[in-house]
């Protein structure tokens, strides 16, 4: 397992804070998920109307992690800051691009991406940390580069996250995908990935 030092920003002050990105979801991370993240999610769901339920509130990361473990094509990531779990991601590198210009070429598909409840504005104002999603997108781009995909990534977005992928990440929206519950499908080209990586270097 590799640990990368990355930087988030405190939601309240904007100050940078050091965090660790692990290229694995370990039992310790799953324990943090089940003892902190999951209970907070359950409390929120119980206290709010079904229409306000987070779209990923039913995700069981223990099951998701188990079904991808051991497969060379699956890549799991955990983001930890100050001993707390901040975000999780599972990506798979056996996917093909759909955009004209890169159609049929390999890309990394982000199967599941989620930030901890305390990093979401609907749970906490201000959020505890900002920048978790950006770090995970960077990780996916690096996986793609390591596999020869040149930074190409793709994902089916839950409705609440569409703006993030289109506006903040600069991905291209290809429309609703009937084969994936009509979720909007986004792709990032090699050029967009390079641009995204360069933008992260700006102070």
């Amino acid at each position: 397992m590799n640990e990368s030092i990355v930087w988030l920003r405190e939601g309240a002050t904007g100050n940078p804070v050091q965090a660790s990105l692990f290229d694995e979801i370990t039992d310790d991370h799953l324990l943090l998920w089940s003892t902190t993240w999951s209970p907070e999610m359950r409390r929120y769901v119980a206290a709010n109307a079904p229409t306000d339920r987070p779209e990923d509130s039913h995700w069981n990361w223990r099951i998701k992690s188990f079904s991808s473990s051991g497969l060379l094509s699956c890549h799991s990531f955990s983001l930890v800051c100050n001993g707390e779990l901040q975000a999780l991601m599972i990506a798979r590198d056996l996917a093909s691009a759909k955009l004209p210009g890169q159609f049929g070429q390999p890309l990394v598909h982000l199967e599941f991406v989620a930030t901890a409840p305390w990093n979401r504005p609907e749970f906490h104002q201000p959020v505890r940390y900002k920048g978790c999603g950006r770090i995970l997108i960077l990780a996916a781009i690096e996986v793609s580069r390591a596999c020869g995909g040149k930074g190409r990534i793709g994902l089916h977005s839950l409705p609440a996250a569409e703006d993030f992928y289109e506006q903040k990440c600069g991905m291209t929206l290809l429309g609703a995908d009937a084969a994936h519950q009509n979720l909007s499908y986004f792709e990032m080209t090699e050029t967009q990935a390079d641009q995204f990586r360069r933008n992260q270097m700006k102070p």
Binding site: W7, P16, L71, L72, L94, P106, A139, G148, Q200, M201
Partner: protein
Amino acid sequence: MIAPVERELSVSVVSDPLKKTMTLNLTVREMAVLEELAAKKDLSKTATMRLALRLLQAVDAKVQMGQKLYVEDERTKDKSELVLL
């Protein structure tokens, strides 16, 4: 505190940085197919072989779980089972 933001890019995703080397002997036809696939997929020959390994492992895992692999004709919707050894 000034964030060394450049370090954000030092995301390491290679779980096993220790690589092992092997020599792969291919027939002329196999090499031609590998070169054709590598060009089509915009990959190096090494990356293409690694992709093939990941694909075979992923398919084998499904078959071991008792699942079947089908291919579907996009136009006619005809399905046929892909039998794997």
